[in-house]
């Protein structure tokens, strides 16, 4: 099936998303002011910097992922790009239009998924949702029905599209939200964690769909996610932001290579070897513990070394490593997750756990 109406080869090179020095600050109330204080604006606030002088340049037809721990500024960046937030400093251009000054033009050229399953109306059917949003995108007549049929099939909701959305599973609502964002064949897709809540098959199907849209149809995709394997699998380029600042940007290979080879050591420990993990963390050759995966039979710890080593033999005899609880050691190639943990101080699993808690 043709995803878009006019599939044509993509000529890469033109910047479709341009973020220059973007800064966004929010204020947080110090206390819980009374209503009259809020009405008159007489209450104390503290500033919070959500995005700090961020620069990003995304070419046409690129799949770009923005990664970062919770509160890093990913969602604020997406919301600024899609005109829901006004920047305090700097500028954002989407499809060549200024997101602060040319909001209508930007909105017309983007498909957005923010808030996932909460962005559709639960009290009407999936088809009624699609009809409504198609109307807001200026679609008329036969085109609406035809396009609803196409996007429904794309996201795999054909059999349930006439059910009330409140009867959908979370994943189905998420897929409906994606279908809404695809309705008007936008050249730019802004997706804020679209696979949250999807089962593995649904997430895989969505990734496949997005890859096809990007590679076959030249749709530019700006994607935020906590799932680093998704970014690794899909992205032409990615950036990691932390506390509003960009700390790394490049292709997945370039980002992985920033840690350098021979700096990640994976150590298998006997279960319940807490003291050993602590001694490894404090070891003079270890920069930090990147991840710790406890299983019933083995605990696997990934370590970032302060300097590159040629072989685990170099460290095997050192203090802390020569321990009868150490079952094995390997020198491994750094993954995106290793880089993420190295630059943010968070492991991806910690980020996901935080997300689950909220």
């Amino acid at each position: 099936m043709t995803l878009w109406s006019k599939p044509q080869p993509v000529l890469a090179g033109e910047l479709v998303i341009q973020i220059e020095g973007l800064t966004k600050r929010f204020t947080k109330n110090v206390d819980n002011p009374a209503l009259w204080r809020r009405v008159l604006g007489r209450f104390q606030t503290v500033p919070i910097v959500a995005i700090d002088a961020l620069d990003l340049h995304i070419e046409q037809g690129q799949f770009f992922s923005l990664l970062g721990p919770n509160g890093a500024g990913k969602t604020s960046t997406v919301r600024t790009l899609c005109t829901l937030l006004l920047p305090d400093e700097g500028s954002c251009r989407v499809a060549g239009y200024d997101a602060a000054k040319q909001q209508r033009e930007v909105r017309r050229n983007i498909g957005v998924s923010v808030r996932g399953e909460r962005s559709v109306y639960w009290k009407i059917t999936g088809r009624q949702n699609l009809r409504y949003f198609a109307g807001l995108y200026g679609m008329r007549g036969e085109e609406v029905s035809r396009r609803i049929g196409e996007v429904t099939e794309l996201v795999g909701l054909t059999g349930r599209i006439d059910d009330y959305v409140e009867r959908y599973s979370m994943g189905m609502k998420q897929r409906l939200a994606i279908a809404v964002s695809l309705l008007h064949r936008p050249p730019v897709l802004l997706l804020d964690e679209p696979t949250i809540g999807l089962d593995p098959n649904g997430a895989r199907a969505l990734r496949s769909l997005l890859r096809d849209l990007c590679e076959q149809e030249g749709v530019t995709i700006f994607y935020t996610t906590h799932y680093l394997h998704e970014a690794e699998e899909l992205s032409h380029r990615l950036a990691i932001i932390h506390e509003g600042r960009k700390v790394l940007e490049g292709s997945p290979d370039e980002v992985r290579s920033t840690l350098g080879d021979n700096r990640i050591v994976e150590v298998q420990l006997a279960p319940s070897a807490k003291t050993t993990v602590t001694s490894l963390r404090n070891h003079r050759m270890v920069e930090k513990v990147i991840s710790e995966n406890r299983q019933p039979t083995v605990t696997t710890v990934r370590l970032e070394m302060k300097e590159a080593i040629n072989s685990v033999v170099e460290i095997a005899a050192g203090d802390g490593f020569a321990n009868d609880r150490v079952l094995g050691m390997n020198l491994v190639r750094p993954t995106l997750e290793d880089v993420f943990a190295s630059v943010t101080g968070y492991s991806a699993s910690e980020v996901r756990e935080e997300e689950d808690d909220t």
């Binding site: 993509v10 479709v16 937030l85 983007i110 923010v114 962005s119 008329r140 809404v180 749709v219």
Partner: protein, 307 residues
Amino acid sequence: MTPDNNPMNNQQVSEGVRFSNGHHLHALPNNVSWYVHDVVATAKRMVLRMRRYPSWLLNLGLGPVLMIFPFIFLGDTLVGKGRPLSGSAFGEYDYTGYVGYLAVPLIAVALSNTVFTWLGGLLRMERRSGTLERVLVSAQFPSALFLGTAFGHLFYMGLFVAATVLLLQIWIPLDFNINYPSAVAVLFLHLAVTYGLAFALSSALLRIADSWAVQLVISKGVLALLSGATFPISIYPEWLQTIARMVPFTWAFDLERRSLLRAEKFGEMAPDLAVLAGMTVFCWIVGFIFLGRELNAARRSGVLGNF
């Protein structure tokens, strides 16, 4: 291409990227037809959504009757036709009894209340549920969403009015004496000014999370008290009467009584209708300005999607 050699950098207002895959949606359609389309699409969605709540519709339809019956009964008992106090306060207004004087504005107040509740409540609900943000990144004209919501409500308004008047007629028959052109004009303006005010007040919801309650207090209390809904404003001191005359409902209720109970002709009411029409336009302009300002403020503070 680096940022430095991208021609877009030097443009304040760009005409957009020329997409090589033919996806560029640069051209915007005619503004008026797009605006109307946004309004109609939202109104349709409202009607569809409300069909899912028949009990709420029944509640809204019966609510005004239940609210105003005790007032009318009490009023009729005390100062109705042939009652000991009749004529003492209302004779000068040339109405045959307090029931008629009271009933018309009370129906209007009750129905206005549903307008305020509806617009404010829905905006609050959409903001909390997350759909407000989604709609705002789709719609070309945010104010069209408010209008669409208002028109969706209007679809059911006829049902509410019919239910109220019917039940009232069964219990306490009203002695209507209607001049239809005048009545149509004043009812239209009353509805329009109500939506205009609700529109303006709803915008405040974007600034203050619980301003829905404030809005209800204003609509139920301040406006009803100042507008002479239940008693003539002539009992107020002069300064308060001046303030009361700035409330559009004061004019609307007076004109409704004159057109529905005394069959006053359009020509006789024209100057006062013009005042009400002016207030209606003013409320809508204020509503649009407020909404635009509050949306921008919400975009700056990031509270559009608070839930």
